[in-house]
Protein backbone atom coordinates (compact mmCIF):
# COMPACT_ATOMS: atom_id res chain seq x y z
CA UNK A 1 0.00 0.00 0.00
CA UNK A 2 1.62 3.24 -1.06
CA UNK A 3 1.73 6.14 1.37
CA UNK A 4 0.39 8.40 -1.36
CA UNK A 5 -2.73 6.31 -1.85
CA UNK A 6 -3.21 5.96 1.87
CA UNK A 7 -3.07 9.75 2.20
CA UNK A 8 -5.61 10.11 -0.56
CA UNK A 9 -7.98 7.79 1.31
CA UNK A 10 -7.49 9.56 4.63
CA UNK A 11 -7.84 13.07 3.28
CA UNK A 12 -10.92 11.96 1.40
CA UNK A 13 -12.68 10.91 4.59
CA UNK A 14 -11.33 13.74 6.78
CA UNK A 15 -14.01 16.23 7.69
CA UNK A 16 -11.57 18.68 9.21
CA UNK A 17 -8.00 19.63 8.31
CA UNK A 18 -5.55 16.87 9.22
CA UNK A 19 -2.02 17.50 10.40
CA UNK A 20 0.97 15.60 9.04
CA UNK A 21 1.36 14.05 12.51
CA UNK A 22 -2.15 12.68 12.56
CA UNK A 23 -1.74 11.26 9.08
CA UNK A 24 1.62 9.73 9.93
CA UNK A 25 0.20 8.10 13.06
CA UNK A 26 -2.70 6.57 11.18
CA UNK A 27 -0.56 5.21 8.37
CA UNK A 28 2.32 4.23 10.62
CA UNK A 29 5.13 5.95 8.76
CA UNK A 30 7.47 8.79 9.75
CA UNK A 31 6.24 12.36 9.34
CA UNK A 32 8.85 13.28 6.73
CA UNK A 33 7.57 10.52 4.52
CA UNK A 34 4.04 11.82 4.87
CA UNK A 35 5.18 15.34 4.03
CA UNK A 36 6.98 14.01 0.98
CA UNK A 37 3.95 12.13 -0.21
CA UNK A 38 1.62 15.04 0.52
CA UNK A 39 3.66 17.11 -1.89
CA UNK A 40 3.43 14.42 -4.52
CA UNK A 41 -0.29 14.01 -3.94
CA UNK A 42 -0.77 17.76 -4.25
CA UNK A 43 1.10 17.75 -7.54
CA UNK A 44 -0.79 14.78 -8.89
CA UNK A 45 -4.15 16.30 -8.03
CA UNK A 46 -3.17 19.64 -9.59
CA UNK A 47 -2.46 17.94 -12.90
CA UNK A 48 -5.01 15.20 -13.16
CA UNK A 49 -7.97 16.01 -10.98
CA UNK A 50 -10.75 18.47 -10.26
CA UNK A 51 -9.68 18.29 -6.63
CA UNK A 52 -6.77 19.99 -4.94
CA UNK A 53 -4.79 19.72 -1.73
CA UNK A 54 -4.90 22.86 0.44
CA UNK A 55 -3.31 23.94 3.68
CA UNK A 56 -6.05 25.39 5.82
CA UNK A 57 -6.79 25.94 9.52
CA UNK A 58 -3.53 24.35 10.57
CA UNK A 59 -3.74 21.20 8.48
CA UNK A 60 -4.20 19.60 5.09
CA UNK A 61 -7.50 19.03 3.38
CA UNK A 62 -8.80 18.17 -0.05
CA UNK A 63 -11.34 20.43 -1.75
CA UNK A 64 -12.60 21.12 -5.23
CA UNK A 65 -10.69 23.50 -7.51
CA UNK A 66 -12.14 27.02 -7.80
CA UNK A 67 -13.05 26.54 -11.48
CA UNK A 68 -15.62 23.92 -10.46
CA UNK A 69 -17.37 26.31 -8.06
CA UNK A 70 -20.18 27.01 -10.51
CA UNK A 71 -21.27 23.44 -11.13
CA UNK A 72 -20.79 22.46 -7.50
CA UNK A 73 -22.96 25.39 -6.44
CA UNK A 74 -25.57 24.34 -8.97
CA UNK A 75 -25.43 20.79 -7.65
CA UNK A 76 -25.42 21.50 -3.90
CA UNK A 77 -27.31 24.76 -3.84
CA UNK A 78 -25.52 25.68 -0.63
CA UNK A 79 -26.86 28.26 1.77
CA UNK A 80 -24.61 31.27 1.76
CA UNK A 81 -24.45 32.90 5.12
CA UNK A 82 -23.22 36.41 4.68
CA UNK A 83 -21.78 38.29 7.59
CA UNK A 84 -22.83 41.88 8.07
CA UNK A 85 -20.31 44.67 8.14
CA UNK A 86 -20.63 45.18 11.90
CA UNK A 87 -20.26 41.46 12.52
CA UNK A 88 -17.07 41.48 10.44
CA UNK A 89 -15.77 44.35 12.51
CA UNK A 90 -16.38 42.55 15.80
CA UNK A 91 -14.81 39.42 14.33
CA UNK A 92 -11.67 41.28 13.24
CA UNK A 93 -11.30 42.84 16.67
CA UNK A 94 -11.67 39.47 18.39
CA UNK A 95 -9.12 37.94 15.99
CA UNK A 96 -6.50 40.58 16.71
CA UNK A 97 -7.11 41.24 20.36
CA UNK A 98 -7.94 37.77 21.65
CA UNK A 99 -8.39 36.82 24.40
CA UNK A 100 -10.66 39.82 24.73
CA UNK A 101 -13.67 40.76 26.83
CA UNK A 102 -16.90 42.21 25.54
CA UNK A 103 -16.26 45.57 27.20
CA UNK A 104 -12.84 45.76 25.56
CA UNK A 105 -14.51 45.26 22.18
CA UNK A 106 -17.11 47.90 23.03
CA UNK A 107 -14.28 50.27 23.81
CA UNK A 108 -12.64 49.74 20.43
CA UNK A 109 -15.89 50.18 18.56
CA UNK A 110 -17.49 52.86 20.67
CA UNK A 111 -20.76 50.94 20.52
CA UNK A 112 -22.17 47.88 22.24
CA UNK A 113 -21.18 44.61 20.64
CA UNK A 114 -23.11 42.09 22.68
CA UNK A 115 -25.50 41.19 19.88
CA UNK A 116 -22.73 40.76 17.34
CA UNK A 117 -20.64 38.71 19.69
CA UNK A 118 -23.54 36.39 20.43
CA UNK A 119 -24.15 35.94 16.70
CA UNK A 120 -20.51 35.05 16.14
CA UNK A 121 -20.60 32.52 18.96
CA UNK A 122 -23.76 31.02 17.43
CA UNK A 123 -21.96 30.75 14.11
CA UNK A 124 -19.06 29.10 15.92
CA UNK A 125 -16.58 31.65 14.58
CA UNK A 126 -15.91 32.86 18.11
CA UNK A 127 -15.97 31.02 21.40
CA UNK A 128 -15.44 31.57 25.09
CA UNK A 129 -11.88 30.98 26.18
CA UNK A 130 -12.39 31.40 29.89
CA UNK A 131 -12.89 34.24 32.32
CA UNK A 132 -10.71 37.21 33.07
CA UNK A 133 -9.39 37.60 36.59
CA UNK A 134 -11.03 41.00 36.96
CA UNK A 135 -14.09 42.37 38.75
CA UNK A 136 -17.21 40.66 37.47
CA UNK A 137 -15.05 37.90 36.03
CA UNK A 138 -15.93 38.86 32.44
CA UNK A 139 -15.87 36.21 29.73
CA UNK A 140 -12.84 36.15 27.43
CA UNK A 141 -13.48 35.51 23.75
CA UNK A 142 -11.29 34.18 20.95
CA UNK A 143 -11.63 32.83 17.43
CA UNK A 144 -12.11 29.16 16.55
CA UNK A 145 -10.71 26.70 14.00
CA UNK A 146 -13.97 27.21 12.18
CA UNK A 147 -13.01 30.87 11.77
CA UNK A 148 -9.73 29.94 10.09
CA UNK A 149 -11.54 27.50 7.86
CA UNK A 150 -14.33 29.83 6.77
CA UNK A 151 -11.87 32.59 5.90
CA UNK A 152 -9.38 30.36 4.17
CA UNK A 153 -6.60 31.02 6.67
CA UNK A 154 -3.89 28.55 7.50
CA UNK A 155 -3.20 30.26 10.80
CA UNK A 156 -3.73 33.60 12.51
CA UNK A 157 -0.34 34.62 11.15
CA UNK A 158 -2.00 34.94 7.73
CA UNK A 159 -3.93 37.99 8.90
CA UNK A 160 -2.44 41.26 7.65
CA UNK A 161 -0.20 43.13 10.06
CA UNK A 162 -2.04 46.16 11.38
CA UNK A 163 1.02 47.44 13.21
CA UNK A 164 -0.49 46.79 16.61
CA UNK A 165 -1.98 44.10 18.70
CA UNK A 166 0.26 41.45 17.19
CA UNK A 167 1.82 40.93 20.57
CA UNK A 168 -1.47 39.71 21.91
CA UNK A 169 -1.93 37.64 18.78
CA UNK A 170 1.45 36.01 19.15
CA UNK A 171 0.60 35.13 22.70
CA UNK A 172 -2.35 33.15 21.45
CA UNK A 173 -0.33 31.98 18.52
CA UNK A 174 -1.90 29.48 16.24
CA UNK A 175 -2.94 27.19 19.06
CA UNK A 176 -6.52 28.04 18.71
CA UNK A 177 -9.19 26.51 20.80
CA UNK A 178 -10.78 23.65 18.95
CA UNK A 179 -14.11 24.01 17.40
CA UNK A 180 -16.79 24.28 20.03
CA UNK A 181 -18.31 20.96 20.91
CA UNK A 182 -20.82 20.05 18.28
CA UNK A 183 -24.15 18.62 19.10
CA UNK A 184 -24.22 14.88 18.52
CA UNK A 185 -26.50 14.27 15.60
CA UNK A 186 -28.65 11.18 15.52
CA UNK A 187 -27.65 9.89 12.15
CA UNK A 188 -24.00 8.90 12.31
CA UNK A 189 -22.62 9.07 8.83
CA UNK A 190 -20.69 5.93 8.20
CA UNK A 191 -17.81 6.13 5.83
Amino acid sequence: MSVLKALEALLFVAETPATAEELATAIGVPIFEVEDSLEKLGGRLTHTSSLQLVRIAGGYQICTKPEYADIVTKFLQPQKHKLSRSLMEVLAIVAYKQPVTMSEIDEVRGVQSDYGLKQLVEKRLVCELGRKAAPGRPVLYGTTQQFLHVFNLESLADLPDLGFGRAALDAVGTHLPPDQPTLPLPEETTV
Binding site: A69, L76, A92, A95, M102, G136, V150, F151, L162
Partner: protein, 252 residues
Protein backbone atom coordinates in the same frame (compact mmCIF):
# COMPACT_ATOMS: atom_id res chain seq x y z
CA UNK B 1 -22.20 24.60 78.85
CA UNK B 2 -23.34 28.07 79.73
CA UNK B 3 -27.00 28.64 80.24
CA UNK B 4 -28.96 30.81 77.87
CA UNK B 5 -29.52 33.46 80.48
CA UNK B 6 -25.80 33.74 81.13
CA UNK B 7 -25.14 34.36 77.46
CA UNK B 8 -28.00 36.79 77.09
CA UNK B 9 -25.97 39.79 78.13
CA UNK B 10 -23.23 38.89 75.70
CA UNK B 11 -25.67 38.60 72.87
CA UNK B 12 -27.55 41.80 73.52
CA UNK B 13 -25.45 43.84 71.15
CA UNK B 14 -27.17 45.32 68.13
CA UNK B 15 -25.39 44.13 65.04
CA UNK B 16 -26.39 44.10 61.38
CA UNK B 17 -28.48 41.02 62.06
CA UNK B 18 -30.26 42.46 65.07
CA UNK B 19 -29.71 41.75 68.73
CA UNK B 20 -29.27 38.03 68.44
CA UNK B 21 -25.93 36.79 67.18
CA UNK B 22 -25.74 33.63 65.13
CA UNK B 23 -24.96 30.44 67.03
CA UNK B 24 -21.42 29.13 67.09
CA UNK B 25 -21.25 27.49 63.70
CA UNK B 26 -17.64 26.81 62.98
CA UNK B 27 -16.42 27.12 59.42
CA UNK B 28 -13.13 25.82 58.24
CA UNK B 29 -11.81 26.24 54.74
CA UNK B 30 -8.70 27.55 53.06
CA UNK B 31 -9.91 31.10 52.83
CA UNK B 32 -11.56 31.41 56.20
CA UNK B 33 -11.54 29.86 59.62
CA UNK B 34 -13.93 30.98 62.29
CA UNK B 35 -17.59 31.29 63.07
CA UNK B 36 -20.41 31.98 60.66
CA UNK B 37 -21.08 35.22 62.51
CA UNK B 38 -17.49 36.35 62.12
CA UNK B 39 -17.54 35.55 58.42
CA UNK B 40 -20.79 37.46 58.05
CA UNK B 41 -19.27 40.53 59.69
CA UNK B 42 -16.08 40.31 57.63
CA UNK B 43 -18.06 40.15 54.40
CA UNK B 44 -20.49 42.80 55.56
CA UNK B 45 -17.62 45.16 56.36
CA UNK B 46 -15.77 44.30 53.13
CA UNK B 47 -12.86 42.82 55.04
CA UNK B 48 -12.89 39.62 53.04
CA UNK B 49 -13.56 38.89 49.37
CA UNK B 50 -16.37 36.39 49.23
CA UNK B 51 -15.20 35.27 45.78
CA UNK B 52 -12.30 33.52 47.48
CA UNK B 53 -14.53 31.69 49.95
CA UNK B 54 -16.18 28.46 48.79
CA UNK B 55 -19.81 28.27 49.91
CA UNK B 56 -20.05 24.51 50.17
CA UNK B 57 -18.27 24.13 53.54
CA UNK B 58 -20.36 26.98 54.94
CA UNK B 59 -23.60 25.37 53.89
CA UNK B 60 -22.44 22.04 55.19
CA UNK B 61 -21.49 23.53 58.53
CA UNK B 62 -24.94 25.07 58.72
CA UNK B 63 -26.68 21.82 57.85
CA UNK B 64 -24.55 20.03 60.37
CA UNK B 65 -25.65 22.54 63.01
CA UNK B 66 -29.30 22.15 62.06
CA UNK B 67 -29.15 18.36 62.12
CA UNK B 68 -26.96 18.02 65.20
CA UNK B 69 -28.72 20.51 67.46
CA UNK B 70 -31.61 18.90 69.24
CA UNK B 71 -33.03 21.81 71.24
CA UNK B 72 -32.78 24.41 68.57
CA UNK B 73 -33.19 28.01 69.60
CA UNK B 74 -35.47 29.15 66.81
CA UNK B 75 -34.31 32.74 67.04
CA UNK B 76 -30.69 31.69 66.76
CA UNK B 77 -31.41 29.31 63.92
CA UNK B 78 -33.23 32.08 62.09
CA UNK B 79 -30.31 34.44 62.48
CA UNK B 80 -27.95 31.75 61.22
CA UNK B 81 -30.16 31.18 58.22
CA UNK B 82 -30.34 34.91 57.55
CA UNK B 83 -26.55 35.14 57.69
CA UNK B 84 -26.18 32.19 55.37
CA UNK B 85 -28.74 33.57 52.94
CA UNK B 86 -26.97 36.91 52.96
CA UNK B 87 -23.65 35.25 52.12
CA UNK B 88 -25.17 33.14 49.37
CA UNK B 89 -26.85 36.13 47.81
CA UNK B 90 -23.70 38.21 47.94
CA UNK B 91 -21.70 35.39 46.42
CA UNK B 92 -24.27 34.89 43.66
CA UNK B 93 -24.15 38.56 42.77
CA UNK B 94 -20.39 38.50 42.76
CA UNK B 95 -20.36 35.55 40.39
CA UNK B 96 -22.76 37.00 37.85
CA UNK B 97 -20.74 38.38 34.96
CA UNK B 98 -21.39 42.09 34.83
CA UNK B 99 -20.97 44.61 32.11
CA UNK B 100 -19.04 46.84 34.47
CA UNK B 101 -16.07 48.62 33.06
CA UNK B 102 -12.80 47.10 34.01
CA UNK B 103 -10.38 49.11 36.06
CA UNK B 104 -7.83 50.61 33.78
CA UNK B 105 -4.91 52.90 34.24
CA UNK B 106 -5.09 56.54 33.28
CA UNK B 107 -3.14 56.16 30.07
CA UNK B 108 -5.74 53.76 28.80
CA UNK B 109 -8.74 55.85 29.71
CA UNK B 110 -7.30 58.84 27.89
CA UNK B 111 -7.05 56.80 24.69
CA UNK B 112 -10.49 55.33 25.28
CA UNK B 113 -11.82 56.57 22.01
CA UNK B 114 -13.19 54.15 19.48
CA UNK B 115 -10.54 53.04 17.01
CA UNK B 116 -12.39 50.39 15.08
CA UNK B 117 -11.30 52.01 11.80
CA UNK B 118 -7.80 50.69 12.42
CA UNK B 119 -9.19 47.22 11.79
CA UNK B 120 -10.47 48.20 8.35
CA UNK B 121 -7.60 46.52 6.44
CA UNK B 122 -8.22 43.34 8.36
CA UNK B 123 -11.93 43.40 7.59
CA UNK B 124 -11.18 43.90 3.89
CA UNK B 125 -8.62 41.13 3.93
CA UNK B 126 -11.07 38.77 5.57
CA UNK B 127 -13.78 39.61 3.04
CA UNK B 128 -11.39 38.90 0.16
CA UNK B 129 -10.40 35.61 1.69
CA UNK B 130 -14.02 34.77 2.19
CA UNK B 131 -14.64 35.32 -1.50
CA UNK B 132 -11.78 33.01 -2.45
CA UNK B 133 -12.99 30.51 0.06
CA UNK B 134 -16.49 30.51 -1.41
CA UNK B 135 -15.04 28.87 -4.52
CA UNK B 136 -13.72 25.89 -2.60
CA UNK B 137 -15.88 23.00 -1.53
CA UNK B 138 -14.96 20.45 1.06
CA UNK B 139 -16.70 17.23 1.93
CA UNK B 140 -19.63 16.88 4.32
CA UNK B 141 -19.10 19.27 7.17
CA UNK B 142 -19.07 22.15 4.80
CA UNK B 143 -22.15 21.32 2.86
CA UNK B 144 -24.34 20.43 5.77
CA UNK B 145 -26.28 23.44 6.78
CA UNK B 146 -25.38 24.68 10.19
CA UNK B 147 -27.86 23.37 12.73
CA UNK B 148 -28.44 26.84 14.09
CA UNK B 149 -29.55 28.01 10.71
CA UNK B 150 -32.04 25.28 10.12
CA UNK B 151 -35.42 26.87 9.81
CA UNK B 152 -37.77 25.79 12.50
CA UNK B 153 -41.42 26.13 11.88
CA UNK B 154 -43.90 25.85 14.68
CA UNK B 155 -46.54 27.42 12.45
CA UNK B 156 -49.73 27.53 14.44
CA UNK B 157 -48.31 26.29 17.74
CA UNK B 158 -48.53 28.94 20.44
CA UNK B 159 -46.49 29.17 23.60
CA UNK B 160 -49.69 28.52 25.52
CA UNK B 161 -50.12 25.17 23.75
CA UNK B 162 -46.65 24.05 24.78
CA UNK B 163 -47.16 25.29 28.31
CA UNK B 164 -50.40 23.30 28.49
CA UNK B 165 -48.61 20.13 27.46
CA UNK B 166 -45.88 20.67 30.03
CA UNK B 167 -48.46 21.33 32.72
CA UNK B 168 -50.22 18.07 31.96
CA UNK B 169 -47.00 16.15 32.18
CA UNK B 170 -46.10 17.85 35.44
CA UNK B 171 -49.45 16.82 36.87
CA UNK B 172 -48.54 13.19 36.17
CA UNK B 173 -45.09 13.50 37.72
CA UNK B 174 -44.14 12.13 41.11
CA UNK B 175 -42.27 14.34 43.60
CA UNK B 176 -38.53 14.60 43.18
CA UNK B 177 -36.34 12.32 45.17
CA UNK B 178 -33.39 13.72 47.09
CA UNK B 179 -30.21 13.22 45.16
CA UNK B 180 -26.69 13.39 46.54
CA UNK B 181 -24.89 16.67 45.98
CA UNK B 182 -22.52 16.70 43.08
CA UNK B 183 -24.17 13.79 41.32
CA UNK B 184 -23.07 14.00 37.69
CA UNK B 185 -25.89 15.32 35.63
CA UNK B 186 -26.63 14.45 32.05
CA UNK B 187 -25.78 17.22 29.63
CA UNK B 188 -28.48 18.77 27.50
CA UNK B 189 -26.90 17.20 24.42
CA UNK B 190 -27.22 13.75 25.97
CA UNK B 191 -30.77 14.44 27.06
CA UNK B 192 -31.60 15.53 23.52
CA UNK B 193 -30.44 12.17 22.21
CA UNK B 194 -32.68 10.44 24.72
CA UNK B 195 -35.67 12.53 23.67
CA UNK B 196 -34.86 12.07 20.01
CA UNK B 197 -34.89 8.30 20.43
CA UNK B 198 -38.21 8.46 22.23
CA UNK B 199 -39.90 10.59 19.59
CA UNK B 200 -41.92 8.60 17.06
CA UNK B 201 -41.88 9.29 13.33
CA UNK B 202 -45.63 9.82 13.30
CA UNK B 203 -47.17 12.76 15.11
CA UNK B 204 -48.23 11.64 18.58
CA UNK B 205 -49.32 13.25 21.78
CA UNK B 206 -46.74 13.67 24.49
CA UNK B 207 -48.88 11.62 26.88
CA UNK B 208 -48.30 8.59 24.70
CA UNK B 209 -44.62 9.35 24.13
CA UNK B 210 -43.64 9.87 27.74
CA UNK B 211 -44.68 6.75 29.60
CA UNK B 212 -43.84 5.23 32.96
CA UNK B 213 -43.06 7.03 36.17
CA UNK B 214 -41.04 10.22 36.22
CA UNK B 215 -40.27 13.07 38.55
CA UNK B 216 -41.04 16.72 38.05
CA UNK B 217 -37.47 17.67 37.30
CA UNK B 218 -37.15 14.82 34.83
CA UNK B 219 -40.18 16.21 33.03
CA UNK B 220 -38.74 19.70 32.90
CA UNK B 221 -35.39 18.39 31.68
CA UNK B 222 -37.14 16.26 29.07
CA UNK B 223 -39.24 19.14 27.85
CA UNK B 224 -36.27 21.49 27.65
CA UNK B 225 -34.47 19.01 25.40
CA UNK B 226 -37.59 18.67 23.28
CA UNK B 227 -37.79 22.44 22.77
CA UNK B 228 -34.15 22.54 21.77
CA UNK B 229 -34.74 19.75 19.24
CA UNK B 230 -37.64 21.70 17.77
CA UNK B 231 -35.44 24.75 17.49
CA UNK B 232 -32.80 22.73 15.69
CA UNK B 233 -35.34 21.29 13.31
CA UNK B 234 -34.86 17.74 14.59
CA UNK B 235 -38.31 17.47 16.07
CA UNK B 236 -41.64 18.69 14.78
CA UNK B 237 -44.65 20.04 16.56
CA UNK B 238 -48.17 20.83 15.43
CA UNK B 239 -51.58 21.34 16.95
CA UNK B 240 -54.40 19.05 16.10
CA UNK B 241 -57.99 19.58 17.01
CA UNK B 242 -57.58 18.21 20.52
CA UNK B 243 -53.92 18.12 21.31
CA UNK B 244 -50.39 19.25 20.56
CA UNK B 245 -48.52 16.57 18.64
CA UNK B 246 -44.83 15.87 18.33
CA UNK B 247 -42.75 13.83 15.93
CA UNK B 248 -39.16 13.19 15.08
CA UNK B 249 -37.44 14.68 12.06
CA UNK B 250 -37.38 17.85 10.06
CA UNK B 251 -40.31 19.37 8.23
CA UNK B 252 -40.23 17.98 4.71
Amino acid sequence: MAKKSELAAERAVVGPLGVTSPPEIHIECEAFQGSLGALFLCVHDHKIDLLDVPMAPICEAYFHYVLATTDTDLEQAAVALAALAYLLERKAWALIPTEQEEPEDDALSIAAEPYAHLFEPAVRNLLERREERDLLFFRWSENVRHPYELPFDTSDVQIGDLAGVLERLLARAVPDTMEPLGKPRRSLAEQMLVVLRALPLEFSSLDSIVVGEFTRSEVVWWFLALLELIRLGQARVRVSEYDVLFARGAES
